[in-house]
Symmetry: D2
Subunit: 501 residues, 4 copies
C-alpha cells in the first residue's frame, strides 16, 4: 500500500511551511477562548522570559548582580523569540530553556555587552520552566475562577427563579420522586462552588521555583560569596532571594525548592478535575434534558449555533457537548500530573518532561469548559410546561413513595409496597391509569378520593399530586444560595465537621 507514496503531506505544500502550528482544530472547547492564548507556545516563551527578567530584578535588589544589568535584560525581553525554533532546539537537551537563554543572552549583549553575563545567572533550566509554568497556571486559574463565578451567578439566578418549579427527579434513568428545577440548578451550583473553593485554594499556593542545579542554590551562593562587601551576609541573601523572586512574580514562597516534590502539579490537576467535573455534571444533565423526548431545556441560540452538516432541522446542544468533551479528558491529564510525583533524584529523567503538555491541556480544557459553561448557564432556556408534562408522564407513579409512606402506618410497609409495585406494573402492562387503579383498590377505600379530606388527612388526589411532594427542596435551595453568597464574598466553604474534633 502506497499510502503516502511521494510523501508530500499536505498537497502541494512548498516545504514544511505547510505547518504553522496547532491552533485548536481538535480542541473546539478551548479554541478561540483564553485557553489558546494564555497557554500557547508563545505564552510559555513569554513567561519564561518574564521569569528571567524577574530573576535579574530580584538579584539586583539584593545586590547579587549590578542594578545596571536589569534595564538591558528587561529591554531585551521584548525581542521576539520564535517558539518554533526553541521547540526544535529543545530536542538536543530535553528542554527549551537552554536555547531561550542563549537567544536572550545574545539579545541582551546587543544592547549592553556587560549585562549579558547576568542573564539566568546562578539558575538552572528547571527554575525557569517551573516558575513560568506556575505563572501561567496562576493566570489560567484566575481566568477559570472568573468564569466559574459567572457560571455560579447564572445558576444562582436559575435556582432562585425555579426554586419551586416541580419536575421529575430521576435515578438510574427512571422517574423516582419529584424534585424542583431549583434544586437541580442548586446542585449544579454547589458543584461549581466546590470548584471555586478548590481553585482558590490551589492558586494562592502556587510556588515559585528557585533552586539552582540541584536545589541548593549553590551557584547563587558562589556568586554571592565572591561579591564581597556588596553582599554582607551571603547565605541570608541567597535564602532571601527565593522570597524576593516570589514577590516579583506574585507567587507563593516555598520553604525549599521543589524540583522533585511536585505537589503543585497534583494540586492543579485536582482543581482542574473538580472544575471540569462540576461543569461536566451540569453539561450532561443539560444533554439529558435536551433529548428530543425530554426537551426540558434549550441551549442559547445563535446564528448557525448547533447546526448540522447533514440535517437542516437540527439544533444540537453544542455548548454542553463541548463542556462534556473537556470533562471527559481532564482526569487523564490530572492522572499524569499525579504520577509525576514519582520523580527520582534531584531531577527526573522523563518524569519532568512528561508534565508539561498535561499541565497545559488540563488548564486549557478547564478554561475552555468554564468559558463555555458561562455561555451555557447565562443563556439556558428552561421549559416549565415541559417539566410539568414529563412530571405527569407516569400518572402518579412518581409519588408512589409518598403513598407508601402515607399508607404504611395503616396497611403495613410490606403490604403497601407490594400493592403499589403490583399496581404500577398493572398500569404499565395494561396501559391503565395508575390513579384509576388505585381509586378502585379496596385497600384504599378509606381514603377520600379528592378534595381535601375532613381531618386534614390528604385525599388520594392530593397524595397523587407531584407538586405536593417536594420535601424540603426549597430550603435546600436556600442553603445553597446562601453558600453562593458567601463564596461571592470570598469566603471559604464551611469545612468544619459538625462534631467536635
Amino acid at each position: 500500500v502506497a499510502m503516502d507514496g511521494n510523501g508530500d503531506g499536505p498537497r502541494g505544500a512548498p516545504g514544511r511551511d505547510a505547518w504553522s502550528g496547532d491552533t485548536g482544530l481538535l480542541g473546539p472547547v478551548w479554541a478561540g477562548t483564553a485557553g489558546a492564548d494564555l497557554l500557547g507556545d508563545a505564552a510559555w516563551v513569554a513567561a519564561m522570559v518574564e521569569v528571567e527578567v524577574a530573576l535579574a530584578r530580584a538579584q539586583a535588589s539584593l545586590g547579587l548582580i549590578p542594578a545596571s544589568a536589569v534595564g538591558p535584560i528587561a529591554a531585551a525581553a521584548g525581542t521576539g523569540l520564535p517558539a518554533d525554533r526553541l521547540a526544535a532546539a529543545a530536542r538536543r537537551v530535553a528542554n527549551p530553556v537552554l536555547a531561550l537563554v542563549t537567544a536572550l543572552t545574545a539579545a541582551v549583549a546587543r544592547i549592553d555587552r556587560d549585562a549579558a553575563q547576568y542573564v539566568h545567572r546562578g539558575s538552572t533550566s528547571q527554575d525557569i520552566l517551573d516558575s513560568a509554568g506556575m505563572l501561567l497556571s496562576y493566570r489560567a486559574l484566575a481566568r477559570v475562577e472568573t468564569d466559574l463565578g459567572r457560571v455560579s451567578e447564572a445558576l444562582a439566578r436559575l435556582a432562585q427563579r425555579h426554586r419551586d418549579t416541580a419536575m421529575a427527579g430521576r435515578t438510574l434513568t427512571q422517574h423516582a420522586v419529584p424534585i424542583t428545577f431549583g434544586l437541580k440548578a442548586a446542585g449544579w451550583l454547589a458543584g461549581v462552588l466546590d470548584a471555586i473553593d478548590r481553585v482558590r485554594l490551589v492558586r494562592v499556593r502556587l510556588p515559585v521555583q528557585l533552586g539552582g542545579a540541584a536545589g541548593t542554590l549553590s551557584a547563587f551562593h558562589e556568586y554571592a560569596r565572591s561579591a564581597g562587601s556588596a553582599v554582607p551576609d551571603d547565605r541570608a541573601a541567597v535564602v532571601r532571594l527565593i522570597g524576593v523572586l516570589a514577590a516579583q512574580l506574585q507567587l507563593a514562597e516555598p520553604e525549599a525548592p521543589w524540583h522533585t516534590r511536585r505537589t503543585p502539579l497534583a494540586d492543579i490537576g485536582w482543581a482542574a478535575v473538580v472544575s471540569t467535573g462540576a461543569l461536566g455534571k451540569f453539561a450532561i444533565d443539560v444533554l439529558g434534558m435536551s433529548r428530543t423526548e425530554v426537551d426540558e431545556v434549550s441551549e442559547p441560540a445563535g446564528p448557525s449555533q448547533g447546526a448540522s452538516s447533514a440535517m437542516p432541522q437540527k439544533r444540537n446542544p453544542v455548548l454542553a457537548t463541548l463542556i462534556a468533551s473537556a470533562a471527559r479528558q481532564v482526569p487523564a491529564h490530572a492522572l499524569l500530573l499525579g504520577q509525576c510525583l514519582l520523580a527520582e533524584d534531584e531531577r527526573s529523567a522523563g518524569g519532568w518532561q512528561a508534565e508539561w503538555e498535561p499541565l497545559r491541556q488540563a488548564l486549557r480544557l478547564t478554561i475552555g469548559a468554564a468559558s463555555t459553561a458561562a455561555e451555557l448557564a447565562e443563556g439556558l432556556t428552561v421549559h416549565p410546561d415541559r417539566l410539568g408534562r414529563n412530571l405527569a408522564l407516569t400518572g402518579g407513579r412518581i409519588v408512589a413513595e409518598r403513598l407508601s409512606a402515607a399508607l404504611a402506618p395503616v396497611l403495613g410497609r410490606d403490604a403497601v409496597e407490594d400493592m403499589l409495585a403490583r399496581t404500577a406494573r398493572d398500569a404499565v402492562e395494561h396501559g391503565r391509569s395508575f390513579a384509576d387503579l388505585l381509586a378502585a383498590a379496596p385497600e384504599l377505600a378509606h381514603l377520600s378520593q379528592g378534595g381535601t379530606a375532613s381531618a386534614g388527612e390528604p385525599s388520594l388526589r392530593d397524595l397523587l399530586d407531584p407538586g405536593q411532594y417536594l420535601g424540603v427542596a426549597a430550603e435546600l435551595v436556600d442553603r445553597v444560595l446562601s453558600r453562593a453568597r458567601d463564596t461571592r464574598r470570598g469566603g471559604r466553604a464551611p469545612a468544619a465537621p459538625s462534631g467536635g474534633e
Copy 2:
C-alpha cells in the same frame, strides 16, 4: 460472623468453601496492615449498619420516630450480617443496601416487632452507602495521617542528623552538584508535610449523605408532616436532620445532598495521590540509592525480610518496593474517582457503582503505603562513607558549576564553560583525573593550587572540594524542619502568596 470458620482455605473446606474471599494475596503493601480490616467487606457492612443506627438516633432525637425504636435497632446491629450473602444479593438491585435493610429489619423485628418499621425509614440506599463510605474514609484518612506523622518525625530526625552530610546531587541520572543527605531527607519530608496538609483538609470536610430518594428528603418530610404535634415545624425538623445525623457520625454537614455532586470522592482521590506520591518519591529514591553500585542506604533488616526464593545472598529493598507499587496504582483509582463527578440526573446508572471499589483501593493502598513508609523511615540506615565515596567518584567534575561561576568573571562565561566541558570529556575519555588536568591548564595558572590562597581567594583544591559547595542546603533544611514543627502543632502550610494581588 463466622464467614470462614475453620479458615482452612480453598481445598477441602466444607461448603462454599471453594472461595472464602480475598485477603490481600495480590496486595502485599496493604495485606496485614490496617487497610485490610478498616476497608474490608465486613467493615463496609458494619459501617452501613452504624449509619442506620445513627439515623434512627438522629430521627428519634428530633421526634421523627419514637425514642423507643432506637434501642432495638441498636441492639440488632450487633447481629452478624454476612457480607458474602449481601454481595450476592447486590446483583439484583445494583447495590448491597436493600438486602442489608431487609436483614436488619428482620433482626429488629425479632427483638421488637414494632420498632422494625423505623429501620431505614425515609431513607434511600445511597444515603446509607455514601455515609458509610465517608465514615470509612474518615477513619482511613485518620490512620493515614497518623502514619504520615510517623514518617515525618523519622524523616525530620534524618534531615537534622545529616543536615551537613554531603552527597552527590543527581539530575537526569548524572552527578550534578553536591547536595546534603539532610536536604534530600528534607525534600522527602516536605512532600510528606504536603500530604498531611491535604489529608487534614479533606478529612474534616467529608460530608454525611442524607437526601432520600432524589435529594429532597421527601419521605422524611412526609413522615414528619403526618407526625402531627410531635414535630411542630416539620420542614425545619427535616432540614435539621442532616446536621444531627452528621453530628452523630462526626462527619461534616453539607448544605444539600450530594447524590450526584461527587466532590468528596475527588478530594479523597487527591489526598491519596499526594500521599502515595510523596511516599513514592521517598521510596524510589531509596530504591535508587540501594542499587548495588550505589549502596548509600539500607532498609531495616529483619528475619527473612527481603529474602529471595532463588538467590540466598540477596536482601531486597522490599519496603520501598511495596510503597512504589502502591504509588504507581493510586493515580488510576483517583482518576476513576475524578471521573465519577460526571454523574447524570439524581443518581447515576453505573457511575455511582463504579466509585466503590476505586475508593476502597485508593484508601487501602494509601494506608498500606503510609504504614510501610513509617517502617522504612524509622529503620533506614544511611551509609555516610559510601555517600562520600560516590561524591568523589567523578574526581571533581561534580563541582564544575562552581569552577564555572568562580572563573567566569576572569575568563568569561562561554570560555570557561567550554574549557570545563572539554576537560571533563578528556578526563572521561582518557581515564585522567579531572583535577590533574585542571591543575595543568594554563587558563588556571593564576589560581593557587592548594591550601588557601592569599587574599581569601579559594585555591583550586578548595574549588574542587565538593564539601565546600553546598550552597544554602543547611538553611533550607532548617526551613523545612521549621515547617514540620508547625505541622506537628496542627498548623497549615503557609498558603498566602508573597506578593499582593
Copy 3:
C-alpha cells in the same frame, strides 16, 4: 474526634474474625459470577500450585529431576494452603510465592522426604506467579469469550427480528434521521464481534513464564549440567523446558523469558477494554432507551430485579447499570497494565507488584460484564409501538435531510436547507405541525400532497414518512449478521484493507 477511639473495628464484632475477606460487596457486577471464583485469592493459590506441579512434571519428563518426585509433589498440591496466611507473609518479601514454596515443600516432605528438594527447583518467584497469572487469564478470557458468544447470538437474533423496524436515530442527543432497531442491534453486535476477535487473539498468545532468577534459566542449567548422563545435552534440555512447561499448562511458548517485557499484560488490558467497551456501549444505549420518557426497551424482569429501597414503583435497569459500572472502570486497570511495560532491569521493584491487582480487576469486571450482558441481551424486551411513537414525535422533522436531498435539485441546496431550518424552528416555537407548515409552503407547491405522485415522484406525505427513509440499513444488518456467522465458525474479522499492499 475519637472516631474509632479504641480501634475495635466493626463495632461489637467479636475479634477480627469479623473480616474473613472480600467477596464482592463493592463489585455487584462480578459478585456471584465466575469472576469471583476464577480470580479469587484461592484460585491464585491453586494456580501457583498447579504451576509448581507442572514444572516438576516438565522437568521429570526431560530427566532434569527424578520421575519419582512428581507423584509426591502432585499429591501434596491437594493440601490446603490458606491464602490469607500467604498474603500476610507476602509482605516480608514483596510476593506470596516464597511462603507458598515453603509450605508446599513441607507438605511434600511429609509425603516423601526426598522429593521435597525438587519442589520449585531452579525456578524463581516470578516464574510461578506470572505463569499462574497467565493460566488464570487464559481461563478468564475463555469464560469471557463464551459469554460474549451468548451476547452475540442474542443480539444477532434481535438484529434479524428487527431488521426493518424503524426508530429514531439520535446524534448529539437529538433526533437525526430514522434508523432501524435492527441496525442498532447490529451495531452492538459488531462491537461484540470486535471484542471476540481481540479476546481470541490475545488468549492464544498468553505465554508461560520460565526464566529463573534473571531470565537465563541459570539454575536449571546448573542442575542439568551436574546431572551427568541423565541429561546428555544440558543446554538443549533447558531450552526445551520452556516449551514442555508451556505444553503442560497449555500456554504459548515465548522465545525468551518476559520478566520485564510485559506485553501480555498490555494485551489483556486491551482485550478487556474492547470487551467492556463494546458491552458498555450496548448498556448505555439500553439505559438511554429505558429512560422513562423514551421507554423503548425493558430489561428482563425477575423477582425483585431492579427494585428500589425507597420507591416501590421503580424497576431500574440494573443489568445495564452493572455493565456500565464495569465499563467505566476497566480502562483505568488497563492503563496500569500498560504502564507496567516500563519495567526496569530484570525485575521491576514496584512495577511487577503493581500489576497483580489491576490484572485481576480488569478480568473480573470483564467476566462480570460479559455474564451480565448475556442475561441482558437474552432477556431484552423491545417495544416496537414505542419506537414508532418516538419516531413520529417531531412530526416529520426527522426526515428533513430527505426533504433537503429531494428538493435541492429543484430549489438549490442552500435555499432548501434554510427553508427547512426555518420551518422546523417555526414548528417548534409555535407548536405547529411541521408537515402542515410544509404543505402550505409555496416552494413545495409542485409536490403532490399525498398518495403517490404521478411520475413515480414521491409525494410530500411519502417524503415525510420516516419508514421510507431508512437508507440501506437492511443491507448493513445483513453484512453484520454475515460476519457474526463467520465469527461463530471461528473465523477472524476481515482485516485486509480494500486496497492492495
Copy 4:
C-alpha cells in the same frame, strides 16, 4: 498553501500574532520529528479535504454524481484552508467539518458553479473527520513501523555482538545472577518485535468511515434512487460506495459504519501503548545503566547534545529521557481512546469530540519515541570493561545461586542457603571478601580451591566465576534474533499455544 496568510507566525511579530500556534515547545520528544507535520492541524485539514475528494471520486465511479464534478472538486482541494479559522468556527457546531465544507464548496463554486453541489454530498461531518483520522493514523503508524524497524535492526546487532558479554543481572535493584548484555538487548528487541506485530495488526484494519447522518447512508440512497437509470440498482450502489471509498483511501472496508463503535481508536491506543512501552523499557534501562555509578552505556554524542544550562561537565542521556517522557504519557491517551467506546446513540455528545486530541497525542508521542529510539539504538555505546567491573563488584555474591545449586545435593538446600546468606552478610558487614570467607568455610573443604577439580567437578574458583554462570542466555538470544528475522520478512509472531485444547 497559505495557511495563515496574514497571521504571520511567531517570528518577531508584534501583537496577537505572538501566538500562531503550538509547534512542540512542550513536546521535545516529537518536535522536529514526523509527528509534528504528519499530525498537525494543517495535516488534519489536508486529510479532510483528501477524504472529500475521494468521496467525490468514489461517487462518480458508481454513477452517484456526475464524473464532471470530480475535476473541480479535486482542483479546489489545492486551495489553502486556514486551520486556525476552521478551529475558531468549530466552536459553533462542535466540529471543524461544517466550516471546511462551506469553504471548500465556495472554492469549488469559483471553479465550476455546478460542481459545488456535489461537495460532501450525502455525507456527514463524522464521515469526513473519522476517515481523515484513520488516514492520518495509517500514515503515522507506517512511520512508527519504519522507525521500530530501525530500532529492531540496531538492537539485533547489539544482541548479536554482545551475545556472550557477561554483565550483572539486577532484580529489585540488587545484583541477582549474571546475564549477558546480549540477552538484555534481546529482551529490548523482543519488546520492539511485539510492538511491530501489534502496529501491523492494527494498521491494516483501520477502516474508512461512511454512514451519513446516522449510519444508514440514507442521503446517499436518496440521491441514488432519484438518479434514475444512471444508477440501476440504487441500494447495491450505495452499499458498494463504502468499499470503493475505502479502496480510494487505501483503508479497510468495515461491514457497517462505526460512528459509535469505536474499536479502531482503542486498537490504535493499544498499539501506541505497546510501542512506547517497549521503547520506554529500553529507555529506562539505558537511563539506569547510564547512572554515574553504573556507567555501562553512553548515548550517542553530538554537538551540545545532552548539555546542561548550569553544569558544563554534564552529558545527560537526553534521548532516553525523551523516550521515557513519551512512554509515561501515552497510556493516559490510550485510556481516553478506550473510554470513548462508551459512545451513546448514533453519535456521542462529547465522547466523539474527546477522542481527537488524545488520538493525535498518542500517535505523535509514539512517532517521536520511535524516531528518538532509532537514534539511540543506532548510536548506543556499550562499555564492556565497565560491565565486567560491575559484575565483579560483589566479589562473587552474584553467583550465590550457583553455589546453592551446586552444594545443595551435598549439604542440603536449607543448610547451604543459610550458610550463603550468612556469609554474604558477613562479607558486607565486615568488608571481607565473599570468596575468601567461603574458601575458609569448613563446609566447603571438599571443594578444590582452584583450577579445575579432578572428576570434572568445578572448583570453588570456577563456581565463583560469573562468566561461567550464564545459563542458556546465548540460546535465548539466538531465538529472539530468529524471531527478528521472521518479523523483518513480514511474518507474525508465533501465536499458537503449544498444547492443543
